[in-house]
Amino acid sequence: MNDIVIDTHNISRVYNPTTIPVYAIKNLHLHIRRGEFTALVGPSGSGKTTLLNLIGGLDKPDEGQIVINGTDITKLSPGKLIDFRLHNIGFVFQSFNLIPVLTARENAEFIMLLQGISKNERDERIKQLFRQVDLEEQIERRPSELSGGQQQRVAVARALASKPQFILADEPTANLDSKSASNLLDIMNKLNKEENITFLFSTHDQRVIDRARRVITLVDGQIASDTEPIMTSYAH
């Protein structure tokens, strides 16, 4: 299982091209294989968010191609891109991931509704997902009734619900205390090991970095260092 799910080829993202150009990402090459558990690190302003947005299809590079699971997403129309995200990419944002008016269960179910998945399948997946993120008790609560850590776990469940190719998480632990952060990492790690879910997340937190199996360091929009992944097979 070492097929490449994310392949960025010489991508650049320039802000203010007409005045003072800022290269948020500069001629960047990156491959992520299925089953990786990768941390994106680097100083503030190094381009982590920009890179994740580009890979997630939320932003377009000014140069280069981004191939996700064989599809060059830089060539997709805005409408197609939204649809592509729905079916291929799971997102966990720093905070406020959830629709406030919906319960935890409804939030996860919502994305499957968008995908047009049948009621039976939805129910089954939800049961499984909330068991995996250890939130079976809190399933009927609304985001405001959950702790920050619990909300992020619901976000992970929501991201997984759509059966994406991989999950992108931009500083998922930034707003969490260290206990909740470590708990979230445990769950992500477990999902990675047991279900072979691919994670790519950015972080500033050394304890989170320590848990990653590949660490890519960005500086000024370029890869400064890349500790190669430990190529283990997680076949069961």
Partner: protein
């Protein structure tokens, strides 16, 4: 999809309530002003009718320029019948008007003597409603009705005898003795101080004007079709007669009504503007509040058509809800101010009284006002909800999720 929209509304009660309240008050305000505007207009027109002139008068040509008995016309069914065949004409009543002197043992004053057909006159100008003392005239009655001010000036009471002196048809002398049957009150001081009514036969006898009348007052089913009716009447009768609407007989009243309705229109325009800003403000607030959420939804893969649809459903439900509640709430308000009209004081009252109107402004309870205003606000609300839709169309998840 609908259920998400519903949950958005239901689980965000404050936000929904604010938007609904904006629409709610918008509806109440616009129903109220329109109803007041229409009410004022209707009331003025109604005042005009019972203000003696009626909507339309038919006279012999020349009477308008020289209002004397000698310019009167023969009144009979031949004149009346063709008029009644006109669709918009609901009735007509003949009058014999002239000036004379009235006196009691104590006092003599000038007065305006009007011979009427009591029954018909009441149908056209609701004269009976103006009785404040005594009783109305019966057909062929030998008594008279005095306006309150006149009675006061000559110190006459009910059942007193008054003497009428004047000049009859073709210079004949006119003199007679009558019993006061009732007292009338007019808003217009001019009428209130000098008018006296008697039955047409009695007046004809007094002024030797058998079978004559100076004018025929025509009442209309739809007062708004005034011009058309004037033309239709003129066409039916010979050119010996002239047909005049109240607008030509009392042009200053017409002018006043026009300037009044014009200023009401400005007020209403400003009101709609306020309403739009109110609703728009709440929508703006909502979009700022939900910017991140909407960006997140697009980011995770919700397409913009679906998202817009949800927002539209939310808007429609909120705006319609606010509209309905606003309409329901405005019904008692409008009825209250219909029963207990606003009474103006000061300068406005003076202007109105000069025309002989009371400065009383009842609201109109015409059902069409509720539909129209409710509908107008609904349309404003729905048009404005295109703004959030526009915002969604141009929404870029990375910028809207930035804080």
């Amino acid at each position: 999809m609908i259920s998400l929209a519903w949950k958005n509304l239901w689980r965000n009660k404050n936000r929904t309530a604010i938007t609904m309240a904006a629409v709610f008050f918008a509806v109440i305000l616009s129903v109220f002003t329109t109803s007041l505007k229409d009410g004022i207009f209707d009331n003025l027109v109604k005042n005009v009718v019972s203000f003696y002139t009626g909507y339309i008068q038919v006279r012999k040509k020349g009477y308008w320029d020289e209002q004397v008995l000698d310019n009167s016309m023969a009144y009979n069914e031949k004149v009346n019948a063709p008029l009644l065949s006109i669709e918009n004409v609901s009735g007509g009543t003949p009058r014999l008007e002239t000036f004379g002197l009235i006196s009691t043992n104590k006092n003599t004053k000038g007065c305006m003597v009007v011979g009427i057909d009591p029954e018909k006159e009441n149908l056209v100008t609701s004269l009976k409603d103006k009785i404040i003392k005594g009783s109305y005239l019966a057909d062929g009655d030998k008594g008279v009705l005095l306006s309150e001010g006149l009675a006061d000036r000559i110190k006459a009471e009910i059942n007193d005898t008054v003497y009428l002196i004047g000049q009859g048809y073709h210079g004949a002398t006119a003199a007679g003795m009558f019993e006061v049957k009732g007292l009338l009150r007019f808003g217009s001081p001019e009428l209130n101080n000098q008018i006296i009514y008697l039955s047409l036969p009695a007046a004809a006898e007094l002024f030797s004007a058998e079978g004559l009348s100076t004018s025929l007052v025509v009442s209309l089913k739809n007062p708004k079709a005034l011009k058309e009716s004037v033309d239709a009447i003129q066409q039916k009768i010979s050119s010996e007669y002239e047909v005049m609407s109240w607008e030509t007989m009392i042009p200053d009243v017409k002018q006043h009504i026009e300037s009044d309705t014009r200023s009401m229109k400005y007020i209403q325009g400003i009101l709609y503007l306020l309403v739009s800003f109110g609703i728009f403000g709440t929508l703006l607030m909502m979009m700022v509040e939900r910017k991140y959420e909407l960006g997140m939804l697009v980011a995770i893969g919700m397409n913009k058509t679906k998202l817009s649809l949800i927002i539209i459903i939310e808007s429609v439900l909120t705006v319609m809800g606010g509209c309905l509640l606003g309409l329901l709430a405005s019904i008692p308000i409008i009825y209250y101010f219909n029963k207990k009209p606003l009474v103006m004081g000061g300068e406005i009252a003076v202007i109105y009284e000069r025309f002989g109107f009371e400065a009383v402004f009842p609201t109109s309870t015409n059902a069409a006002i509720f539909y129209n205003q409710g509908f107008t606000v609904l349309i404003i609300g729905l048009l404005l909800s295109l703004y959030p839709v526009y915002k969604i169309i141009i929404l870029d998840p990375t910028t809207s999720m930035k804080r």
